[in-house]
Symmetry: C2
């Protein structure tokens, strides 16, 4: 398959591809209109032309137009211009035309993917999208399980549901069929490796005891009597994990939190210490969650080390589930796959990225750690990934993929044997029985499917979009690093500093008055700049540059920001005294930052906007 | 406000309103295109006309077109023609033009309602839609809380989250501030009426102890040590409740299930017996869930009796949360509200429905029981209602509304005091911190809002759509009831029978060979007819009539279907022996069944289709 041309994938910052978009939408719309008209053409119109002349008819159409015009006015006045390279804030950007048009067209038919019966066309597409995603993650699509969720939250909840019910299953087996686990202590049962538990599912199925075992697992008994132990998460985890601990009945007290290092990745030494401490106290470990693309820093946790550690611990009779929260960064894995979807060697990959002009040859990415982490993801039990983030698909579309589809036996509504009943694919699939949600938009699944079909999940497709993002991120990071101190027009000189070298596509940065060692003053400046570059100070449509901001506190992040604080020359104790450091935060998803006028023009303009804003907020 | 003209609200069974739809879509599309172009017009195009001549550009556009054409072919081949009055199956129908166009237009701007910052235009619309819904349900919108979810599942999960955390809160207070609940036993704390617990939240807030009390509630401690008791649900509950019990850590063993009567409503006598039994055993009752519009029968549980029973029990020191699962039937409440949104008296309402031609004067609806149930809903703590069902809004849009917004204090991510921090409305609202989900489509909220703005939530708006549905349902029910036995063309005579008089807009029915007393034979016929009227036997586009089917078993439904079985003359024990009765199931949502050619033509055609199908499947 040919390499995609990224310029032809988006409507564009100036609606450059408007003719194509409108023409194609018009075609899809007509397809639907005539589909309705051709369904039993012998049926007469339900609404006649005469009916349409009624005053009340015209009145209702007028009301509809008024409401939609009001909506359009509101959207135009207050929406965030994600499409522009002037927007470098949250993980948003322009979205794929194929996905948007697929969503719109499918919505007209309004399929509901909860059951094949209500979505004969689109349930199939959702299952296919799940397989596509499983393949990209390095799972065997034939054994894996993946589907679309309403977002990363639900995907993460589902992952905790998986690990909770998996952890508890051997205890259910112990009641249903003591022979199957004869001689195993409770501790041993709570430390079976995930693959051993999957095999136990098969054994119970063969014996016809799966239902019985499920009835003595947490699914039926509830968490009331469960002793499933702790969930280990990094301090940098997304807040959906706090919500998951509450919702899934684990409780926030049952987190064990790993510190992050100065690169904002999970501190593997601390992880090991926590695990050893829990083992010593005979507290089971339900699972370990790591992040690929932390939302505030874009850090990539070192899954190769986490999974090695698990192997080490398994030799000592301790095991746990590993989940990858790649809601943000997951699609980046496409850049590591060659045209045949094979994971490339480190040097081959870096060569290919440069040779195929995916990223410019002077951009040094990925680091070996990041590479190893992306490679190792394939060994984790499950992965969250959001098509509505780096998949460039419209909201709402998250995904969960699991390495072993037998996991569904522990969460499905059906009693058992579901995968052997011929319900696994196609039109008779009752998707709602295997997942957290029920009624769901077939249109969202069609959008993800269309995106994956148009943009292959490898270096020829998403790899090229990711490449633009990575290149722009590194250009921006380098420019900030090289930026000389400047006079802002208020008689004062300012410097810019970055938090860390980006693992991925997020840059955190601050402006500080040269010589200032008052952290509160810098934080005030950061927040004042943010006020001028966001919704805070009125409609964003009039802003010249848009970004987001975030906060690090000693409580949550320990001394992780110390590198930046030292470079800025803040005295020791200033951070603890102030209680927080605020930074500007730019997720650079736009494919058009290095591909419009020219990057250096863009950067010069950015700095001149910053000067004006600083002079305005610090007169 | 004028009464809506229902004909002007939908694209129509034969795309009658195609010109309006396309014209308005074109306008909304141009609005967006020029919004992009007008954002900093001084910025140059990122994609030039010259770029568009590259071979790879054309190739990528071609690929996009191929994928979308493939999608369109699949949609046309296999989608279910919800738009046609020939479809009487699941709770699907044509959808509102205003909602569909609002969704499409908003998707172009792709707002994310998880945070006001990412959706300055549409978070406001979601909160407004929540207030609109609260008002329709009889809640005071100023004190209530409502928002859009990805569907009824998540709304139900959120309701269980509410009731679980509310039930557990007084125990947290006991640890954080023993004085506040001095003299109260654990049993008494677990039986505080919901309103007393809401007041306890205020007391803890005033004392600055809310965080501390939350830290000793189930949110932090988890369900491990909790003794929150049972969740009482009717046998007719939706399967999302099974999932909720698993996911929320309650466990399926902690359901107490109430039988349904022959009208398929919760048996209030049995409910009372269960409650008294639990009280005697000193097992707390977390909550009672009832259903407004059971998915398989359209039955409406008698909330007036459930809420009276709670009052009775409160006098004896026993209380519990009450939730209304009105995912399916909730919008029907619009028909009970006058033009000023006031709940009408029983006779006034029936008069108004007839006088304003909402339903034909010979249609006898609602029954007093159904009326009382809809009236009493307003006293329940929370209500699930799906805009993507009787709201005629595209997937995916569910909603949850709660009577008292203080409930959010027990589930919010923020520590406390959130409603007093000025974050409660508008652009700075961090919706994701108060709800189960995170990133979510602003477009879905805009669609619900636009629907409610175009179609008021009272007798002048949704009431008129509901009226068409109710009228068609009653016509269809009456026709089936009056249907004389007929010869099917295979030399045999068949009769048709209905399950019960519909509370609402669902009719279950069966065909049986005259004199047949073999239930299996009738079930086989039902399923064979279903095969010819659904996806089972190939693309539905070639079907002449479409419906769904459902099954009642002695295990789940006791002798509820006995009325039908007796009328059909099945011998005693036949049902238990066969183990199930299958029926055809028609949710009649289409507004066009009594409003196209003429209803009697439609019904005659239906019977002739049935004759052909029966002759085909029973030669």
């Amino acid at each position: 398959m040919q390499k995609v041309n990224v310029d032809a994938l988006f409507l564009g910052p100036k609606s450059e591809n408007r003719d194509f978009f409108k023409h194609t939408l018009d075609f899809m719309m007509d397809e639907h209109i005539h589909w309705r008209r051709n369904f039993h053409p012998e049926d007469k119109d339900a609404i006649t032309f005469r009916d349409m002349h009624a005053n009340s008819f015209t009145d209702t159409l007028d009301r509809t137009k008024e409401v939609l015009q009001d909506l359009s006015d509101r959207l135009k006045a207050s929406s965030v211009p994600w499409h522009s390279p002037r927007y470098l804030g949250h993980m948003n950007s322009d979205i794929l035309m194929s996905a948007t048009l697929a969503y719109m067209a499918t919505m007209l038919y309004n399929p509901n993917n909860t059951a094949g019966e209500a979505s004969p066309a689109t349930t199939v597409l959702e299952l296919e999208a799940g397989q596509q995603m499983a393949r990209m993650m390095g799972y065997n699509p034939d054994n894996a399980w993946g589907h679309v969720t309403s977002g990363g939250h639900v995907a993460n909840f589902e992952a905790l549901w998986f690990m909770r019910n998996l952890k508890s299953f051997p205890l259910g087996v112990q009641v249903a069929d003591p022979d199957a686990v004869a001689g195993k202590s409770e501790w041993e049962l709570l430390n079976l490796p995930p693959d051993a538990i999957f095999d136990l599912i098969d054994i119970m199925k063969e014996k016809g005891l799966l239902d019985e075992a499920r009835k003595h697992s947490v699914r039926y008994t509830g968490m009331q009597g469960a002793k499933l132990g702790k969930l280990i998460v990094p301090q940098s985890k997304h807040y959906s994990w706090d919500k998951s601990a509450d919702i899934l009945g684990l409780g926030l007290d049952n987190f064990a939190k790993v510190q992050v290092g100065r690169n904002f990745r999970m501190d593997i030494g601390h992880l090991k210490a926590i695990i050893e401490d829990l083992v010593e106290k005979k507290i089971p470990i339900m699972g370990v969650v790591g992040v690929v693309g932390t939302t505030e820093e874009g850090a990539v946790d070192e899954f190769h080390k986490i999974l090695n550690l698990r192997e080490e611990m398994e030799a000592k009779g301790v095991s746990f589930y590993v989940h990858v929260d790649a809601a943000y960064g997951g699609y980046t894995r496409a850049a590591f796959l060659d045209a045949n979807d094979a994971f490339m060697g480190y040097n081959d990959m870096r060569d290919a990225l440069h040779a195929e002009k995916v990223i410019h040859k002077d951009i040094d990415w990925p680091s070996k750690d990041v590479y190893d982490a992306f490679k190792a993801m394939a060994k984790a039990e499950s992965i969250t990934v959001d098509p509505h983030k780096m998949g460039y698909v419209p909201y709402a579309a998250g995904m969960i993929v699991a390495r072993d589809k037998r996991i569904t036996d522990l969460v499905s509504y059906f009693a058992a044997y579901v995968w052997t009943k011929g319900q696994e694919t196609g039109q008779s699939m009752l998707l709602g029985s295997y997942i957290m949600e029920g009624s769901k938009a077939g249109a969202a699944a069609a959008a993800v499917w269309a995106a994956h079909k148009t943009v292959p999940l490898n270096i020829n497709g998403y790899g090229r979009i990711v490449g633009r993002s990575i290149e722009a991120t590194n250009r921006f990071y380098q420019s900030l690093e090289r930026q000389a101190p400047f006079e802002a027009g208020n008689g004062k000189v300012y410097e810019v500093s970055t938090l860390t070298k980006p693992d991925f596509n997020l840059v955190n940065f601050v402006f500080n008055e040269k010589g200032n060692t008052d952290l509160k003053q810098m934080n005030d400046l950061t927040n004042a700049i943010y006020g001028q570059c966001s919704y805070v100070d009125g409609p964003v449509y009039y802003d010249s540059f848009l970004t987001s901001h975030t906060e690090f506190t000693p409580t949550d992040y320990g001394d992780a920001p110390q590198g930046l604080l030292s470079r800025l020359g803040f005295p020791e104790g200033e951070y603890e005294k102030t209680g927080a450091i605020w930074v500007l935060r730019a997720c650079i998803l736009t494919p058009f930052l290095c591909h419009n006028t020219s990057y250096s023009d863009y950067y010069d303009r950015f700095i001149s906007i910053m000067k004006k804003i600083i002079a305005k907020v610090s007169p």
